[in-house]
């Protein structure tokens, strides 16, 4: 922990310690986890598990070694099977070809599998997951490049699927040409021709515009049984004070009593409240949705994005009971970019957080939200 930035009399110090202690002994709620992340970001701190380590050390010291129970044979067998499956890459994607040995089992990372034989969703998932994990493992420019590649791929796949959603021919074609940028770009042209003003087309136009963007992967701040396989990314254009949320796996808001709300946390605002970026509904389960978002107040330096569950109608002040997704901006664009959009190629600057883990563009990625749904009033 970087104590240089944190004075003992800083009220944030107490709150930070409180959250770290709670996390170590009883875990945090989604909202608390998000608060901890933002507090760390605010204070320029990285991960700090020293309290958790202290708790673990105390537990070991207070545990009677003689009372340690042996692993039951049945459970041991299950673990062996789990280890073998993990070794084959069924429970974790391949990272690299290096060997990892733990305990009595030696793991040799499998070679990357062929992407052509698997169904579309699985192909995309495994490939993107691998790219994401490589991006995590790499450092510096290489890591950013890998993450950017993942985002670009996601856009291409999304576009490809948007062109001809749901058709068998489309799926077969996608399998053959999934990684062919030229083909995907051609499909993008089809999208523009068919629906120039659709969210999908505008999203595609934005990410290919060359204008300065902030692109952030958003993930559940903690494990939430209701979150399922939710994955998302925000693409934000500072000059327009607007952008898009691309999300898959969110449950449908069919009960009319709740809605989703997007938020932008602004480094330039003194008060700790995020800026409302609009509410939206998801018409049905499944699929990937492109949702326009825009700030209700000026945002100078976005530092994080979030999605919460709110009562229908949303709220103007953030007091979220449930934070579903949080995406933290890890590299801030220069404020000189905050202004009218520019088409200058020299302005092209995209800041990409680690790409989405476990996010698979669904076959119906191109589904258009019905009018009045999934596309909140931006004006």
């Amino acid at each position: 922990m970087n104590h240089q930035l944190l004075q003992p009399d800083d009220p944030r110090h107490d709150r930070l310690e409180e959250l770290l202690c709670d996390k170590a002994v009883q875990g945090l709620s989604a909202a608390e986890e998000a608060e901890l992340r933002l507090l760390r970001a605010d204070l320029g701190m990285g991960e700090d598990d020293s309290i958790e380590q202290a708790a673990a050390a105390a537990m070991l010291a207070m545990t009677d070694t003689a009372a340690t129970e042996p692993l039951p044979a049945g459970l041991r067998s299950k673990l062996d099977a789990k280890a073998a499956a993990w070794c084959r890459g069924e429970t974790a994607a391949a990272l690299s070809s290096h060997e990892l040995s733990i305990g009595s089992i030696e793991f040799k990372r499998p070679a990357p599998v062929s992407v052509s034989a698997a169904p579309l969703a699985e192909v995309t998932l495994s490939f993107r997951d691998r790219v994401y994990r490589r991006a995590q493992a790499a450092s510096g420019a290489a890591g950013w490049a890998a993450a950017a590649a993942a985002l670009t791929l996601a856009a291409l796949v999304s576009t490809r699927q948007s062109a001809e959603p749901g058709s068998t021919a489309s799926r077969a074609s996608s399998e053959r040409t999934l990684l062919d940028p030229a083909d995907a770009a051609a499909s993008a042209e089809v999208v523009r021709a068919v629906a120039l003003n659709s969210p999908v087309a505008r999203y595609d136009e934005l990410i290919n515009s060359g204008r300065p963007l902030v692109a952030v992967a958003a993930i559940p701040p903690t494990v939430d049984p209701d979150a399922g396989e939710v994955a998302a990314e925000f693409v934000w254009e500072p000059g327009a004070q607007a952008g898009f949320l691309r999300v898959s796996g969110l449950a449908a808001t069919t009960d009319k009593d709740r809605t989703y709300q997007a938020w932008v946390f602004d480094q330039g605002r003194e008060e700790p409240y995020p800026v409302d970026a609009g509410t939206f509904d998801i018409p049905h389960d499944g699929g990937t949705w492109i949702i326009p978002v825009s700030a209700r107040l000026p945002v100078l330096r976005p530092k994080a994005f979030a999605v919460t569950v709110e009562r229908a109608g949303g709220t103007v002040v953030s007091a979220p009971e449930r934070v579903l997704l949080v995406g933290q901006v890890t590299s801030q664009i220069n404020t000189e970019f905050v202004g009218p959009p520019s088409d200058s190629a020299s302005d092209r600057q995209r800041h990409v957080a680690p790409a989405i883990p476990n996010a698979a563009p669904a076959p119906d990625a191109g589904d258009e939200p019905p009018p009045g749904r999934a596309e909140f009033p931006t004006e």
Binding site: Q53, L75, D224
Partner: protein, 171 residues
């Protein structure tokens, strides 16, 4: 698995997992260990502490998920589990010795709260109900105890001087 299987299994049982779900919990912990093995740094602590830290985090998160699924149902049998802390007779390593020295400097009610929280996995609410100590005081005891442990272990030369065992070795 040979070396730490029993430890993880015992942790899961102590934290309050039922037999029906303990297998899944232990498997989840081991998958996390395999995936995070590269994060182990022997300069920061003993291998056993690393395993325990990862295991505790997983088990606590899973327990939270379970409680959330049951809509706030909590174990009402906390009084039976709110036993006083065991005497610090276990001396596994120099780190454990240091931990016991630090714990000995805490007041008895602080030790009780820490033990119930860390070893038994009770929530602050459950500790308050089991001991009769006000909730705010429980939180303070746990927090100050953890911070004392962290600071004490940071300054403990014994921690850094412990023999380094490579994590990736066959038993």
């Amino acid at each position: 698995m040979n070396r730490y299987g029993g430890l993880v299994y015992t942790l899961a049982r102590r934290i309050g997992y039922e037999t029906s779900e303990i297998d899944d919990a232990v498997q989840e912990v081991f998958v996390a260990l395999w995936e995070h093995a590269s994060r182990f740094d022997p300069r920061l602590g003993a291998e056993e502490t690393f395993v325990s830290t990862v295991a505790r985090r997983r088990l606590i998160d899973r327990r939270r998920r379970r409680i959330r699924r049951t809509k706030g149902q909590v174990d009402t049998d906390v009084s039976l589990r709110a036993a006083p802390p065991p005497p610090p007779t276990v001396e596994r390593s120099s780190q454990s010795e240091r931990v016991n020295e630090i714990l000995a400097t805490l007041r008895p009610e602080q030790q009780t709260c820490l033990n119930l929280s860390i070893c038994r996995g009770l929530s602050h609410d459950e500790i308050a109900r089991a001991t009769g100590i006000p909730l705010g005081t429980v939180k303070t005891h746990v927090r100050r105890g953890l911070i004392a442990l962290r600071e004490g272990l940071k300054s403990a030369p014994a921690l850094a001087d412990q023999p380094v065992k490579p994590f990736a070795t066959k038993p």
